[in-house]
C-alpha cells in the first residue's frame, strides 16, 4: 500500500498535501483499493467552505457509496474537473491525477490534528480489516 511521506492523513483515508496555506486533497491508495472501481465522485464547487471532519462529498464505486470527510478547513479553489469523465483516475493515481480538491486553508493550526505517513500506516495496521 502506497503511503507517501510528504502528505498528512485523516482517519477517513483522505490525504492532504500542504504548501503554505494551499492544500490539495485526495483519497489514499488504501481507500481506493477498498472501494474498488470508482464510477462517480460528487464534489462541491469552487467557493465551497470546507470544515474539518465534515462531509464534503461522496465517492461512489460499482458497489457502494462513501462519504468524504474534510481533513482541513478552508475555501475550495478548484476541483479536479477530469474526474467528471475519468473517475477511474482516483483508482489509478490516487496521489496524482486522481486528486479531488485544491483548497485555501483558513485554519492551519488544525493540521496538527492529522497523522503523518507513519502515523497513518500504524492506523491502518491497527484499524483496517
Amino acid at each position: 500500500m502506497d503511503i507517501p511521506k510528504n502528505l498528512k492523513y485523516n482517519t477517513e483515508h483522505i490525504w492532504v498535501k500542504v504548501n503554505r496555506d494551499n492544500a490539495i486533497i485526495g483519497i489514499t491508495d488504501y481507500a481506493q483499493d477498498q472501494l474498488g472501481d470508482i464510477i462517480y465522485v460528487d464534489l462541491p464547487e469552487a467557493g465551497y467552505e470546507l470544515e474539518q471532519n465534515e462531509s464534503f462529498g461522496t465517492i461512489e464505486s460499482a458497489k457502494s457509496v462513501s462519504e468524504l470527510y474534510a481533513p482541513v478547513t478552508g475555501h475550495v479553489i478548484r476541483i479536479n474537473e477530469s474526474l467528471k469523465d475519468e473517475p477511474e483516475l482516483v483508482n489509478e493515481e490516487p496521489y496524482d491525477n486522481g486528486w479531488l480538491l485544491a483548497v485555501k486553508l483558513t485554519n492551519e493550526d488544525e493540521l496538527d490534528n492529522l497523522m503523518d505517513s507513519s502515523g497513518y500506516e500504524d492506523y491502518l495496521k491497527n484499524n483496517a480489516s
Binding site: D37, E60, A62
Partner: protein, 394 residues
Amino acid sequence: MENSQNKKTPLYDTHVALKAKMVPFAGFLMPLYYKSIIEEHINVRNNSGLFDISHMGEIIISGSDAGKFCDRVFTADISKSGPNQIVYSLILNEKGGIIDDVTVFKFSDSEYMAVVNAANTAKDFSWLNFQGSEFAKKGNEVSVKNISDEVGLLSVQGPKTRDIIYSLTGDNPQAGSCGLFSLKQKSKPLGELKHFEFGCVLFRNINVEALISRSGYTGEFGFEIFVPAEKTSILWNYLLKNSALSNLLPVGLGARDTLRFEAALPLYGHELDETINPYDAGLEKYLSAEKDYIGKEALKNIRNKAKRLIFFKLSGKQIPRHMQKILNENLKPIGCIASGTYSPSNKFPIGSAYVSDSSVNPQSLKNFFIDIRGNFEKAEVVSPPFYKIGKKSA
C-alpha cells in the same frame, strides 16, 4: 456482520490467496471482486469468467410421487419436462408471494433437484420439507433433502467458454453415477447440450466427474458445474491453470450482479420477495395454467397488478440504489428502486423500480426522477434487457 458467523465455500482459502475482496453475502464470505468489477464484467462479455457459486443451495426431491409434489410446490410445469432438463420456476406462498426463484433439474420421474438462492436455502428447505411431510400424510411418497454442503458449484460464462471446457473434458455419456449424482438417462455429448439441459462430463487430467448444465446468470453462453465439495478447489485450480484457453479470469459477486442485471435477470431480495407476486415482477410466463400449485388460488384475486416492475437508464453518473424513492415529474413519490447499478457494457447507470402508485400507467411512463441522497436524478424508462448476446442495446 461477524465473520465467524459466516459460512465459507470450499474455495474460501483460494479466494483469499487470489487477494479477493471478501464480503459477507447470504451468510457466506464471498469474493466481491478479485481486481475490478468492471474488468471482470467486460472479460465475461468478451472472453470468459469463472465464478464460485458454491454458496447456492441444492435440494433433492425424490420418491415415486416426486413429480406430483414438484408440480404442487413449483409454479412451472416440472414433471412434464424430460430427463436431464432444467425448468426455471417460482416457489410461492399461499398468498401468492414469491418465496424464491429456482431452477429445477429433472433426473427422472422420481428424482429432481432444486437449485436455490443462497440467502433462501434454509427457508426453502424448511418450506419444501414441511410441504413434503403434508404431502406424505395424504399417502404420497416423497422425501426432501438439503445437500447444499456436499456440493461445490462453479460457473464458467462468456463467449469463449466452449474453448476451455470442450478442451479439458471428455464426454461421459453413460447413464449412472456422475460425481455426486446419478443420471437415469444417458447424457448427451457436451457439444449437443442446449440451453437448460444438463449432462455429465469428465475433466480428464484431474479425473473429476461433474454434472454440467448449459445455464448461467450472465446473459452469456455458459456452463454451471456441480462437483463434490472436496473436489471444488481441484477443478477451480485446474481451470485457472488452463486459463489461456479462453482468457479465463475469476469473477466475483460484484460482476455477477452487474452481468445479471444487464441481462435483466431478477435477483431475490431486489426484484423478488414475499411481498411481490409473479404479476408484479412480470414473471407470469412461469405460471402453469394446466395444474394446481401453491399460491395459484390467491393469484386469481390479485391479477390487478398492485406494483409494476420497470427498467430505466440514467443520463447522470450517480448510481441509484435499492429502496431509493422514484418520483413523477411533479416530484410525487410513485414507487421505489429494486436494483440499481453501473452498466459496464453501456457505461451508464441502469436500474429497475417498482411503480406502486396505481394512477401511473407504466406503459406510458417515459421519464421520472430518482431521489439519490437528495439529488433528483432524471431517469428514462427503457425496455429490458440492457445487454443481449451480439447486440449493443439500451
